[in-house]
Symmetry: C2
Subunit: 652 residues, 2 copies
């Protein structure tokens, strides 16, 4: 439990440069095993050496047109007024002057002929062919080797084979070629708490997802990955496992045991087996990295949190894997984006923040996702990774910073939904993509008020909101008009939805309503400040004159209905406020408190047809059915225009 020091903590750049330099010195990028494979299997493989043609293509002189093959000199003098007649012959080994032969495209040029006259220019008359113009020597003839000559270079060394390369290789008479073998990468999961399948999971155990993720990443980077059995936290066992992996692989990845704790043996073991270049990198997440060379091969210790493991694999494994295969190490696809929230960061640490990225009214914006290193969902939902350099202390809201885009992200086609969390929004995203394949929708759950502010700052395309105005009993319009007085917005209705208390199935604690929450035997879980659900709770508590400070767990805030439901389903708390759909999803009981109006605040440029597409989805029968099936929703009026912002009336 006590902290030991990292052996040799470095900045990311120093660590990467030192790593590459030492690997180069060991010959890692040069000693490349090769294998011989069929050309047919070579798509995407990399040639081990330059490949030269075994035969020429075409391999004979051929007619390039349908027509007659002639000796050009026999046609000289032919003209409209004085046609030349040639004798049509069957092809034989010996050429007779004044003869010609019928040929189709691709036919061998008969001996003695050196030109083709197109069929359109020939008048056939029994056994004779009449022509009205002279043929130039070699006209309409494809000569041998025109495309590829024997012994000529077909594909240079270290080129990735494409479909047309396959055609060229086969045309050049090659059926097998020598290619670089794919680097073999061992992935060794370690840890006493790690189990292999979800069926072995019990509290305190952690499912091994990292070795699967890292093996898939290795395959994505064109390597060959082998997952090894889980190794317990025991230096001798780890040393044995790494030794075995080294014998059969080109690279070994150990995950994890890389921190500086008492039960973290990776750095020590790798130091015993070879040389540790780096232990600890000044990045967040991902500090616990070990870079070592054992038996002349790279051995990488990666941190245990999934997000850290993936980010550090991209920093320290990907490029060396590609470079060893002579595959292009592509420059990252980077854009500058405006950060929508303040992102604090520690001086001296380079920080990576997963972000949603979208183009809102012509401005590229980046919305930070959950920064927890254990949050796999923040990686699956991210469009990009924002880097905060180690020199500063973070980024202010509104500052512009470089974002590395993730492979499949298309920020120009990504819609940003920032605001209140609702299960219907994810279905909206799915339905939008059904109608327009390249569209995506990212949801940031920052509550209704956060959504209004995001629209005001042009940081979101849409915001789900449900804000009750206590004075009028009406929803949303009052707050939007107050905070967006001069903005062109439209408000579209999505659904009426049931809010209430979520309690365990069968209601074992016999909770009857909000007044029960102050009972000393009841624990509660709350939603974050600024969320519509929190405001509804506080409104109802005030109405019922219930003192919030007397509710056990009122301080514990989470960001979504589903997280509230999960804690209740697990029995760690007794009640929480949320939508009926979340109760239904996890089989909880539901005590209705209020039906509320959930609307979408829209922020699109006038020429942007995506708002119409959203309204189409909202009004469709399939969407309505799917959302209502979640429980507690009424979409009778979905897609209806509720209100238009002041400037909006001129914009739309």
């Amino acid at each position: 439990m006590a902290n030991k020091a990292y052996l040799n903590c470095q900045t990311r750049l120093l660590a990467q440069e030192g790593w590459r330099k030492r690997l180069k010195e060991t010959g890692f990028f040069d000693r490349l095993p090769v294998e011989t494979i069929a050309v047919d299997d070579a798509l995407g493989r990399v040639t081990a050496q330059s490949i030269y043609a075994r035969q020429s293509a075409p391999h004979y002189n051929s007619a390039a047109m349908d027509g007659i093959a002639v000796r050009a000199s026999d046609s000289f003098g032919a003209q409209e007024s004085a046609p030349v007649r040639l004798q049509l012959n069957a092809v034989s080994a010996v050429f007779a002057p004044g003869c010609c032969y019928v040929v189709d495209t691709g036919d061998v040029m008969p001996p003695g002929t050196n030109a083709v006259i197109m069929v359109e220019d020939v008048h056939f008359d029994g056994t004779q062919a009449e022509i009205n113009a002279a043929a130039a020597p070699w006209q309409h003839v494809r000569i041998i080797g025109e495309d590829i000559v024997a012994n000529e270079l077909v594909v240079p060394e270290h080129q990735t084979i494409s479909p047309v390369d396959i055609a060229a290789l086969l045309a050049a008479g090659l059926e097998t070629i020598s290619v670089l073998a794919k680097p073999r990468v061992a992935v060794i999961p370690t840890g006493d708490e790690i189990v292999a399948t979800y069926r072995e999971l019990k509290p305190g155990a952690i499912l091994d997802v990292n070795s699967h993720m890292l093996a898939a990443a290795v395959r994505d980077w064109h390597g060959e990955a082998t997952r090894y059995p889980i190794v317990r936290d025991d230096p001798a066992a780890l040393e044995k496992a790494v030794g075995e992996a080294l014998a059969a692989n080109d690279i070994v990845v150990v995950n994890a045991g890389t921190s500086a704790g008492t039960e973290d043996f990776t750095a020590t073991v790798l130091g015993r087996l070879g040389e540790v270049l780096t232990h600890g990198v000044a990045i967040k997440p991902g500090k616990p990295v070990v870079l070592a060379i054992c038996q002349g091969k790279p051995v990488i210790g990666l941190p245990g949190y999934p997000v850290s493991a993936m980010l550090t694999a991209e920093l320290f494994l990907r490029d060396i894997l590609l470079e060893r295969q002579k595959l292009p190490v592509l420059d990252p696809w980077q854009v500058d984006a405006t950060v929508v929230r303040q992102v604090p960061s520690a001086v001296g640490v380079e920080e990576y923040v997963r972000v949603s990225v979208g183009n809102v009214q012509g401005k590229l914006v980046a919305a930070p996702l959950n920064r927890g290193a254990g949050m796999i969902s923040s990686l699956t939902r991210a469009q990009g990774i924002l880097s905060i350099p180690e020199g500063g202390s973070g980024l202010n809201a509104g500052s512009v910073a470089p974002v590395r885009l993730l492979r499949q992200s298309r920020p120009e086609q990504n819609l940003l939904a920032v605001g209140s969390h609702d299960l219907a929004l994810e279905l909206l995203g799915i339905h939008l993509r059904r109608r327009r394949g390249n569209l995506s929708l990212s949801c940031a759950n920052v509550g209704s008020m956060g959504g209004i502010l995001a629209i005001r700052n042009n940081e979101a395309h849409l915001a789900g909101i449900h804000l009750l105005d206590p004075a009028t009993g009406r929803y949303n319009v009052a707050d939007v008009e107050k905070y967006l007085p001069n903005v062109a917005w439209r408000m579209i209705h999505l659904a009426m939805r049931q809010q209430g208390l979520l309690v365990a199935s069968g209601n074992p604690r016999q909770i009857q309503g909000l007044d029960c929450l102050t009972r000393s035997d009841i624990t509660f879980i709350n939603r974050q400040r600024g969320s519509g659900t929190r405001m509804l709770l506080d409104y109802q508590l005030a109405r019922l004159k219930i003192d919030a400070r007397r509710i056990n767990g009122y301080e514990k805030e989470v960001g979504t209905h589903m997280t509230v439901a999960a804690s209740i389903a697990a029995g760690t708390v007794d009640a929480g406020m949320g939508v009926q759909a979340a109760a239904q999803a996890l089989g909880l009981d539901f005590l209705p408190v209020a039906a509320e109006q959930y609307d979408l605040l829209m922020n699109f440029a006038p020429h942007d047809d995506r708002m119409a597409l959203i309204i189409q989805v909202l009004q469709s029968a399939e969407f309505r059915q799917e959302v209502e099936a979640l429980g507690g929703y009424d979409l009778s009026n979905a897609g209806k225009l509720i209100a238009v912002g002041s400037a909006g009336t001129v914009m739309f």
Copy 2:
């Protein structure tokens, strides 16, 4: 042989739109077979439907730090001056007030606790733990479902699975998922002249390379390809083969028999089996295309020339294949480039020209490659495809036109060598890439004079030249100074090389020298006008007073030494002028005529370090050895500076 008409010839755009529309109507993009596979095998596959979590992650409340787990209320009031002491207990099912428990990161929160105090903030004293500050409820606790909640969306429908998706799916308790089955595509080669292996090749036979290339392209586009046996030119056989392929596949490709000739049955047969939407598309190359729907499935007839087959597959197969798999149909990566030569084109036909692309002194230039539809090498060497719209009559030299870049091309890193052909240039390209992995070198063989003009027009980075000045007997400098009076160039020596007559092995025709070329029993093959080799020949003929018009085959011009050698090796001509290396490559006899100086004219911006890299290669022992081994080369002075252009003295 007689021309029949195309059934329904259309513009490319009309053909594509009609094709997609009819396929949509048939449900081709909707009736999608699915299969269940292990999550571990799902990398790159596309989800068939939205996937929801089976379990929450984390699946229990856990310590997020090493330290002690406490009930937060037990710590209230603790401060420096009044520390609170808690009893260290072993974890049990029942919580005793005032107790605490040692926990490591990831450990289950003991019953009754709701906060973790970091180990750094705890003073351990025997069986007691002393703390100096109160803990906020739920501090340093990861709660159940924080990342993923059971029944929550993990991966939406029709998403391509990435390594982090695999992690998320496994964490959510999924071990198998339902994905879209890869479309099965049959590729049927047809034609009486087609043979399956190069061992069956004889004059008139054509090797089936297309079915391999098209199958690889299908795999590249994530489909599953099956190559079928070659079908003879017989309608009944073709009908049977297509029928069988339809039964086992989602898409059938027939290659070829798609033209309008008497032996082209594809359109007729497909019309019998279903509906032909298009026969003939107004593009070049690639006019003979058949688009049909048979038994509700797309059947595509592609033209026979490899270049035509590949281009039309990209136009009519790729996108429907991707769209059916719900994979993004990426916009082509397009740039505007200056065309270096006039490219004539017929009105009413959209033409595609393969080009080399490079950035010369800040200007992106496109150099057209050989336009023959049979030239596979023009596809393997191309960086891009230039489109000439059907409305005009071609492009003038210097005009700017859109070029679709091919997948792996990096025009910014491509060097353009335009000028005289020499075998050493390809080796130069290979050696450059050994030193700088992302560099490539494209060679356009337009002769020495063409090279000088390309340098003058900033259309090439380097030009190989060998031009004898008859007045001085010196090479290159006179012509370059004459044509590039105010240009910043440098001339670097590459090699002295032997030029001479290439004749068949053993010299069966007993050719003694240039004067034998006028013998009536000798046929000759020439190099193109403007090439140094042609100039050398003409210079020598004039010196010897030999009348070129008396040489059989003087009119037949080809573009490279190797093509000359190939015709002699095949016995279709008796002699040609070329370098000794070409004779050696094909085992020909060589009669020396002259040793000549081959230099590289260089055109680089002052800050461009690639010229220094080229000189490094030229001066390296490995390069010298490899080039001299080709035969007839002397690289003693390779890499030496020969001359500097007038403006050059200030530039470098």
